[in-house]
């Protein structure tokens, strides 16, 4: 077995990196919200998306109806 690579593949922290990272977190949380919790308020699809992803929501462990 080869020696583990002593490398750190991530860029150094900077204010710019932090702001882009924070923006990404916001977008990912919005996406997770649409799958797990939205009942039409954000998606504006009525209950369609909620019902479409109902089985997935239950199997992903999110509380639902």
């Amino acid at each position: 077995m080869a020696a583990p690579a002593r490398s750190v593949a991530v860029p150094a922290l900077s204010p710019k990196l932090l702001s882009v990272a924070l923006l990404s977190v916001g977008l990912m949380l919005l996406l997770a919200y649409l799958v797990g919790f939205d009942q039409g308020a954000v998606s504006q699809s009525g209950m369609f998306l909620h019902e479409l992803m109902h089985d997935g929501r239950h199997l992903l462990g999110v509380p639902c109806h």
Partner: protein, 246 residues
């Protein structure tokens, strides 16, 4: 060195694949249990409406077949979201993880995420199949569920912090510190959080737990594949030396 954009895109792609495969696992293990739960609910509803002569069944917004397909949409989108969050966490926490190996760092982070976001909430509020919950308590159940996510991540953090602090007293202390930090936080939180149990007495316990283990397995698949997938995706060695090392 990888840029943040490249780290993020890798997370999104890994998350998409992990979500699709977790969806397949969920389809095979979970769908039969969901169908059985709905059948039980409908049998109950029929018994109720019998006296009213007609059946109050509304046409569903999405057919069962549609929901079965929607399962893959849900796990895929959820996988993408988790993969993206995972990539951000990897970027921000990588230097705090005490390993020189990026693949080990990814696996450790996935294990921490699985314990904090899946196992800890599961033990307090195990998921229920459709047709079991009371719609009136959905807000309360959502808030307590989100609380267990936060507590789960706090518990993992407390375990890591305590084990690092105790490491100066030896390996046994390091292990004991980690367990104490994790379990202590979880037990304290579980005593404070309200218990919620809306499963009717008449609901078959076997079916309930088959569903719950299908749900746990779905999420385990998701996190396992995110961890291993990201470990491979972030490795900067060329494929040939990866194979040679294996």
């Amino acid at each position: 060195m990888r840029t943040f954009g490249s780290l993020l895109v890798r997370g999104l792609i890994v998350g998409l694949f992990a979500g699709l495969l977790a969806g397949t696992f969920a389809y095979v293990t979970g769908e039969p249990r969901i169908d059985a739960s709905i059948a039980i609910e409908e049998a109950g509803a029929h018994a109720h409406t019998h006296a009213h002569e007609e059946d109050h069944h509304e046409d569903p917004l999405v057919s069962r077949d549609g929901q079965r397909a929607g399962l893959f949409l849900a796990t895929s989108l959820y996988g993408v979201a988790l993969g993206g969050l995972f990539a951000v966490a990897f970027t921000l926490l990588r230097r705090k993880l005490r390993t020189g190996n990026d693949a080990y760092a990814a696996l450790g982070l996935a294990a921490a995420g699985f314990v904090g976001i899946v196992v800890v909430p599961f033990l307090k509020y195990p998921p229920n199949p459709p047709a079991v919950g009371d719609p009136d308590t959905i807000t309360r159940r959502t808030v307590t569920y989100l609380l267990t996510l936060v507590i789960g991540l706090l518990a993992v953090w407390a375990g890591v912090a305590l084990s690092r602090w105790a490491a100066r007293y030896g390996d046994v202390a390091r292990l004991a510190g980690g367990v104490a930090g994790l379990v202590g936080t979880v037990v304290a939180a579980y005593l404070i959080l309200p218990g919620i149990n809306e499963v009717p007495e008449s609901f078959p316990a076997t079916l309930l737990w088959q569903f719950r283990f299908a749900s746990l397995g779905t999420q385990a698949t998701l996190w396992l594949l995110i961890g291993f997938g990201y470990a491979v995706a972030v490795d900067r060695r060329p494929i040939r030396s990866k194979v040679a090392a294996a």
